[in-house]
Amino acid sequence: MNSSSNSRLSFLEDTAQLNLLDRRSVIKAQKLLKNQLEKIYRNCDVLFGGLLITEWLAAILVAMLWSPKAWAGIYSNTHVHVYLAIWLGLAIISLPLLLIIKMPGAAMTRHFVAAGQMLMTSILIHLTGGRIETHFLVFATLAFLSFYRDWKVLVTGTIIVAVDHWVRGAYFPQSIYGVSPPQTWRFLEHSFWVLFGDIFFVNWCLMTRKEMWEMAKKHARMENTKELIESEVAERTAEVKAEKERFRLLCSFAPVTIFEANEKGDWTFIGQRWSELTGLAVESALNNGWQNLIHLEDKAIVLRSWAASISKGENWDCEFRIRDLDGKIKWVRGEAMQCQADIESQPIFIGSLMDVSVLKLSENTSKKMVLIAQKEDFLATLSHDLKNPIIGTNRILELIINGKMGPISKELNTIMIKLRESNASLLRMIQNLISIYRYDTGADYLNFENVDLVQYARAAIADITLLANDKEVELHFKVQNVLDENYTVTADRNSLIRLLSNLLDNALKFTPSKGSITVSISGTAHTRSVEITNTGSYIDDDSRKRLFSRFYQGEEGKKYVPGTGLGLYICSQIVRAHNAEISCESSPDRGGETRFSVSFESEKKVGSSSLEQLGVQSSTQHDKVHYSPGK
């Protein structure tokens, strides 16, 4: 049902198109006929122009030969015929010639040409003494006039003849019929023969016009068809051009180098990307030119695989190295597959070359990263496994030192104490490593609480007071007034203690005797900060940049106290986990001064929304939150 209605619609469309084409053809045919007729009219005008001049000259010649002189006895003078031939002839042809020059192709021109032609015929008849032979020119003139293919012109010519005969028959009968009495109707006899000729000439004109019309229609149809074909061709050409352009863009901007190879494996086309890939002109890759760039170590394998694919018509897939114009080695992946446009055509290979150097690098890096992760996991496991025996050892040492295991000598007790301190140092180191691992990998959750920064700062100061006294370092604590005297920050309690403790330990390490350490608590509308300033030390710019790196120990640090180089790294990890900021300033003035500043955001309304914005997850408790660095 659908197909039949579709075909009917298609037929109607075709018919409509044909009608349109036919209408166009008729209009075009009219134009063609008009042009052709105009051309004929103009050509005939020129022809008759020449004929009229020829007839005029002929008339003069006839007069000069036939009746050059009129005689009276022995005296003579120029014959009237000579004057008539020259002047009357000139008068007759002047108007048709003027119109031929000024209005070529016009209907008026044709009719005056016909009139002039008939009048010139009558002059010639007159000059030749009314010879019957000259009268044939009347019929010849009618035949000539029919060249115009305009039957109306013949009517004009015939009217001139009829009027001439009628007027002369009525008023000068002897001049034309050689008899004296008026011959009013005799002109009809003469005109009849002219009309008899006209029947055939007019018919010929009409037939010719009809033939011209048919020809014009055929020509118009052909032209229309030609235009249709040309427009189709133009459309197809545009499509091909667009396709070509698309293909060019594809070849130029596709992230791979596209190539085409013939059935022998010779590369016949290669995209512009080749130049970007190798720095060489595209032509250099054609035929087997591309093979010259293959790395020597890979060349044999690549060529073997390529030859195998070509001979078997199988897909080609190969990764290999090439050397570009600058000698740089690049990894490329070449792929190709056989395709055939149609059964008759030869199979060809379409393929691509892709620069996979980055992928290769990334692949290598990933492998390295896996190795590092495995190493860190190993270290973490090792650290964790080492911690327990050391703790156990320390407890035993504690029992021995405290005499719970029986009395020991003083020397032995001193050794035991040293051993305990060494173990404690070793344990701290292990704990640091474990902390780093946890912060790095996000293996642990932090318990965020709203804690009083002043309270924890005081506690940290208290922890180092004895050591500071031993080293004769003054400790100062300053609290600047803030709004509502609220120094609460949201932090993991243990991490905060470790942070402050590490920073104070660090300050104490590098503060010389008689120096001072100042801890200041300050705040703004949204932040609360701790500043730990120690005197007597200076950290240069280069060292400051690397201060928070893992295992970094400045030259000064190595001099004072042996350490692991993990203290400040852990501080930076804690600060990062708290979304806080840490900075270090150092000035060489007044013997050197170094200041560490840690800035926390002030107390948050402990709830899900505000903390979640910072990667903090709400706990079930009102003032506790868990933080996962991994999130």
Binding site: Q30, K69, A70, W71, I74, L88, A106
Partner: protein, 209 residues
């Protein structure tokens, strides 16, 4: 087809219509005037015979036939109209079935010889069946016969009576049907001694005084 023919109209006009109208008017006038001059020249007859008596002139040296009718044509050997007269004479003789005494008298001025007569005219005269060519030196016979216009034909009966005086052409230098020719044909065919006349078209035999 008719509708198509109507649609195809070509009227390129590169000339001022006013001046074109003027030109056409002048053209028509010029042609009319020229035609009038041509007609006037061609169909204005020449002077007719000066012979008062309608019989064979007494002082003529020409021999008149005693048995048949005698035709005497006077022509000017240089006049273009002579050809027409000679042609028409030949037609007349041929149509009248012959048996007449025909003389063609060529006027030869006194200072000129026979060579003054153009050869083509001699040939035309020779083409007239049974015609005798007479060279009329100094126009003696011409004056005797009173022939004033080239193409003047006389027909005399065997008894010397003049039967016809006039031309046998329709106009100057023209050939074709004309009343003079028809009249002559009738006279030659008839035994009645009826007299006829017609205008003569040709050059004057002598300079008018």
């Amino acid at each position: 087809m008719r509708r198509l023919l109507k649609t195809v109209s070509l009227e390129p006009c590169n000339i001022n219509k006013y001046w074109l109208g003027v030109f056409i008017f002048i053209w028509l006038i010029a042609i009319g005037l020229g035609a009038y001059i041509a007609f006037d020249h061609a169909w204005t007859p020449g002077e007719s015979t000066r012979l008062k008596e309608k019989c064979w002139p007494q002082f003529s040296n020409l021999k008149q036939s005693q048995k048949n009718k005698t035709l005497v044509l006077f022509v000017h050997p240089k006049c273009p109209c002579t050809n027409s007269s000679l042609i028409e004479l030949r037609n007349l003789i041929e149509k009248s079935k012959g048996g007449h005494n025909t003389k063609i008298v060529f006027f030869v001025p006194g200072d000129f010889g026979d060579e003054w007569i153009e050869e083509d005219k001699i040939n035309l005269a020779n083409a007239v069946p049974g015609a005798e060519i007479v060279y009329d030196h100094d126009g003696k016979e011409m004056r005797t016969f009173g022939a004033a216009t080239s193409g003047q034909l006389y027909i005399f009966a065997s008894d010397k009576k003049m039967l016809y005086s006039g031309g046998i052409t329709p106009g100057r230098g023209h050939i074709g049907t004309n009343p003079g020719f028809d009249n002559c044909l009738e006279i030659l065919a008839s035994n009645d001694n009826q007299y006829g006349t017609a205008p003569v078209f040709g050059c004057p035999m002598e300079q008018p005084k």
